[in-house]
Amino acid sequence: MKAIPALTGLLMAGTAAMALTVAMPATAQEALTIVSWGGAYQDSQREAYYKPFAKETGVVITEEEYDGELAKVKAMVDTNSVTWDVIDVDTNHAMSGCDEGILEPIDYAKVGQPREKFVQGAALDCAVGTIVYSTIYAYDADKLKDGPTTIADLFDTAKFPGKRGLLKKPFGNLEWALIADGVADAEVYNLLRTPEGVDRAFAKLDTIKKDVVWWEAGAQPPQLLADGEVVMTSAWNGRIFKAIKEEGKNFKIVWDRQQPDFDFWVIPKGAPKMDLSYKFIAYASDPKVMANQSKYISYGPTVVDAIPHIEPATLEHLPTNPENLKTALPIDAQYWADNNDELLKRFNAWLAQ
C-alpha cells in the first residue's frame, strides 16, 4: 500500500529536480545560441564575430550547426519552444520563412545600419544580409592540366570525362543547364518561368545524370575533389578558397557564370532574447567588423561601407571582384522563393527515377 505514495513522492522529487536544472542557466550569464552552416564558413564567423562579440559584451555564445533545415525552426516556432536565437539562412529560406510567418520581421533601426547601406537585395523584410557568396565550380589542376573554363565544359563529358559534383538541389543547377544548352543569360529566368524551359533544363541535366555525385553539405565538395571522387564540382567559393589557402590544394575556381547570392541573419518568431539577438546582428553588421570576415573566408560584405576596410589582395578572391563578376549570373531570389517547392519535388522525383 505504501508503494503508491512513495512513487508519487519520487516522481515529484524528480520533476522538481528537472525543473531546477532547466531553470538554472537562465539565472546565469547572458547566452545566445547562433546557428550556421558549419565547416570553414562557421570557422570564419567564429573568428570574425562570435569571439570578439563575446569578449566585448561577456555574452556566452553557443554555436550549433545545420544544413539549412528550416523544419527545425518551424517545429520550434509551432510548439512555442524557440531555443535558437540567431540563424544564418540562404535567400530562399529568408524569403519563404518570412512569407510563412516563421521569422521575425526586422526593425532596421535596431540593426544600426539603414537599409540603403546594404547591397541591393541584402536587406529583406525578415532578414539581414551578412555575406555575398557565390556558387562556382572548381577542379583540381594537379589532375586536369588543361582545365575547363566555361559552364558548357561542366556539362561536356566527352571533353572532360569523369564524375562531377553538383549541389543536390535544383537551385542553380537549372540555370547552368540552360546556359550550357546555349540559352542567353538574360533569357534564363524567363525561360525557367515556362514549363518548356524547366523541361529543357532537366533534359540537359539528364545528359550528365549518370556522371554526377550529388553533395548536400558545403564541406563535401572540397573533400570530393581532394579524394579524386570527382574531376570537377560545384561549390561555394569560400570553401574552395579555404582548401587552396590552408590545405595547399591546387584547386582552380572557374568564375564563368558564377552565381552570387547572399546569406542572412534571421531571428525565429517568438525568440526569447530579441534584444540580445539584435545586439549581435548590429555588431556583425558594423562595417569594420564585417570587413574582418573576409580575412578568414573569401566571401564579400553586404554593407557597402565595409569594402574600404578590406585589403586589395583579399578583394581579388571575392565574388564581387569586377574581374570575377564579368559573366556572373545573379540568382533570381523571387523566382526561387516562388518555385522552389515544386522544383524540389520534381528534382527529387527525377533523381530517384
Binding site: 500500500m1 510563412e100 579524386g228 571522387e229 516562388d338 515544386e342 519535388k345 530517384a352 527515377q353
Partner: protein, 433 residues
C-alpha cells in the same frame, strides 16, 4: 499484518462468544475475516507490480505510442486552409461545384487574403494549395499583394480581374477540398495517386511518380540484405556454437566488436574502403583484377554491402543462441541410425534452428526498412529508401503531412508483412535464445 497462514484460535474469553457465533468464517488474530485480509494483501501486491511497470508504460506511451499516433493523425490532418480562410471555406460549403461561386464567397476570399497579406501568412496558404495545384504559390502571393488594393465590392469581377485563375472552377475545387478538416490527399500522393477536378482517383503522370518505386526498392533492399546476412551469418553461427568455448568466445568478440561500434562510424569506414580512390579499388588495381577503377560507392552494391555488414550481428546472434540450445546428441543419434552427414544436418539439425533464423531475419528485415544514413552516405540517388524521402519532406520541404503519410504507409506495409510472416512461420515459433 499477520501472515495468511497465521490463523490462531483466540484464547481470550471476550472474543470467545464472537468466534462461536460465526464458526464458518475464518478470522485472523485481529478479527478481520481471512478472505478480506487475503484480498488486501493481494491488492497491495498487484499495486506494487503495477507501480514497477508504470515507468516503462509511461515511457512507451510518451516516446512511442503518442508520437506514432500523432504521425498517423498528421497524415490525414488538414488544418492550413480551414485555419487561414475560415469564412471562404464556410461559404464554399454551400457551393454546388458546377459553376463559379457567388459574390459572397469572392468577398470572403478577398477579405481573408487581405488579412493574410497583413499577417504574413499568405505563404502558408500558397504552400498548401501548391501541393495540389503546382505553380499556384507564386500566383497566390501576387494575388495577395494585388487584392489589398480592392477597397470595396463588388468583389467577384475585381478579383477575377487580378488573375483569370480565380475565374476557374479548378482553383475553387482545390480550396474546397483543402478546406476540409481531414484529407486523404497525402496518403494518395504517397502512393502516386491524385484526384482530378471531378474527384476521380487516377495515377499521377510518369515524371512525378516515384513512391511506388521507392517502396518496392525499400522492400527489395531490405530483403536482399536479410538474405545476405543469413547466408553469411548461418555458417558463422554454426561455427561459434560448435567450437569449444575458449575459441568461440574469442571469435564472438570479433562478431561483437563491430556491433558495439557506432553505425555512423561503420558507414563512414565503408566510404573510405569503397571510394574510387579507396582501399578496395587500390587493391584490385594492384593485383591486376581490373584495369579501370570500379564504381563501388554511391551505388546499390555499396549500399547492400554496408547494410549487410551492419545488420550481420542482428541475424547471427539469435541463430547462435538457438543453436547453443540444440543438443549435439540429436545429430549423433541420427548418424548412428544411418543418416549421412547432410541428411542428419538437414533433417535433424536445421529444423531446430528455424526459430532462430525466423527471429534474426525478422529483426534484420524490419530494421533495414528504416535505414536512412547508410544509403545516404554510400548509396546513389536511386538507392535512397523511404526514410530519405521522409527526411526530405520533413526537413527540406516542410511538408509534414506528406512525411507522415509516407511513414504511415511504411508502418502499414510492415504490419502486413508481419501478419503474413505470422501466418507462414508463426510468431510463437520465434526464439531469441
Amino acid at each position: 499484518m499477520p501472515r495468511a497462514g497465521g490463523v490462531e484460535r483466540p484464547s481470550r474469553p471476550a472474543t470467545q462468544a464472537m468466534v462461536s457465533l460465526a464458526t464458518d468464517i475464518v478470522r485472523t488474530a485481529d478479527g478481520v475475516p481471512l478472505k478480506v485480509t487475503l484480498r488486501r494483501v493481494d491488492r497491495a501486491r498487484k499495486l506494487k507490480a503495477v507501480a514497477l511497470v508504470v515507468p516503462l508504460f509511461l515511457f512507451i506511451l510518451l516516446s512511442f505510442a503518442i508520437p506514432i499516433g500523432v504521425m498517423l493523425f498528421r497524415a490525414v490532418d488538414n488544418p492550413e486552409i480551414a485555419g487561414a480562410l475560415p469564412n471562404t471555406v464556410a461559404e464554399l460549403a454551400r457551393w454546388n461545384g458546377d459553376e463559379l461561386p457567388d459574390e459572397a464567397t469572392y468577398a470572403a476570399l478577398a477579405g481573408e487574403l487581405q488579412a493574410a497579406h497583413k499577417s504574413k501568412t499568405l505563404g502558408l496558404i500558397g504552400k498548401r494549395l501548391n501541393y495540389e495545384l503546382p505553380g499556384v504559390r507564386s500566383k497566390i502571393m501576387a494575388i495577395g499583394r494585388a487584392v489589398t488594393k480592392i477597397e470595396a465590392g463588388p468583389y467577384k469581377d475585381a478579383v477575377i480581374g487580378i488573375d483569370p485563375m480565380l475565374g476557374e472552377r479548378r482553383l475553387w475545387t482545390v480550396i474546397k477540398s483543402a478546406g476540409e478538416p481531414y484529407t486523404i490527399f497525402y496518403l494518395l500522393s504517397a502512393l502516386d495517386f491524385e484526384r482530378t477536378q471531378d474527384g476521380d482517383i487516377v495515377n499521377v503522370s510518369a515524371d512525378r511518380a516515384i513512391f511506388r518505386d521507392v517502396f518496392l526498392r525499400t522492400m527489395g533492399i531490405s530483403m536482399t540484405v536479410t538474405l545476405a546476412t543469413l547466408v553469411l551469418g548461418f555458417p558463422v553461427a554454426y561455427l561459434l556454437a560448435s567450437l569449444p568455448a575458449r575459441t568461440s568466445n574469442l571469435l564472438m568478440i570479433l562478431v561483437l566488436l563491430p556491433f558495439w561500434t557506432s553505425l555512423l562510424v561503420r558507414t563512414t569506414a565503408w566510404v573510405v574502403l569503397l571510394q574510387t580512390e579507396g582501399v578496395v579499388n587500390d587493391a584490385l588495381m594492384l593485383l591486376g583484377f581490373v584495369d579501370e577503377r570500379l564504381q563501388l560507392i554511391f551505388s546499390r552494391f555499396g549500399t547492400i554491402v554496408a547494410m549487410t555488414h551492419i545488420q550481420l550481428p542482428f541475424t547471427l546472434l539469435p541463430i547462435y543462441s538457438v543453436m547453443k540450445t540444440i543438443s549435439p546428441t540429436h545429430v549423433r543419434a541420427a548418424r548412428s541410425l544411418g543418416a549421412g552427414p547432410f541428411v542428419a544436418f538437414w533433417r535433424i539439425y536445421f529444423p531446430q534452428t528455424v526459430p532462430g533464423i525466423a527471429a534474426g531475419c525478422l529483426l534484420t528485415f524490419i530494421l533495414s526498412l528504416g535505414y536512412y544514413i547508410t544509403p545516404a552516405l554510400v548509396g546513389g540517388p536511386t538507392d535512397q529508401m523511404v526514410s530519405s524521402f521522409v527526411a526530405i519532406y520533413t526537413n527540406m520541404e516542410l511538408n509534414w503531412g506528406m512525411a507522415s503519410a509516407l511513414g504511415a504507409i511504411l508502418l502499414a506495409a510492415t504490419l502486413v508483412l508481419y501478419l503474413l510472416y505470422n501466418r507462414l512461420i508463426g510468431i510463437d515459433k520465434l526464439k531469441l535464445g
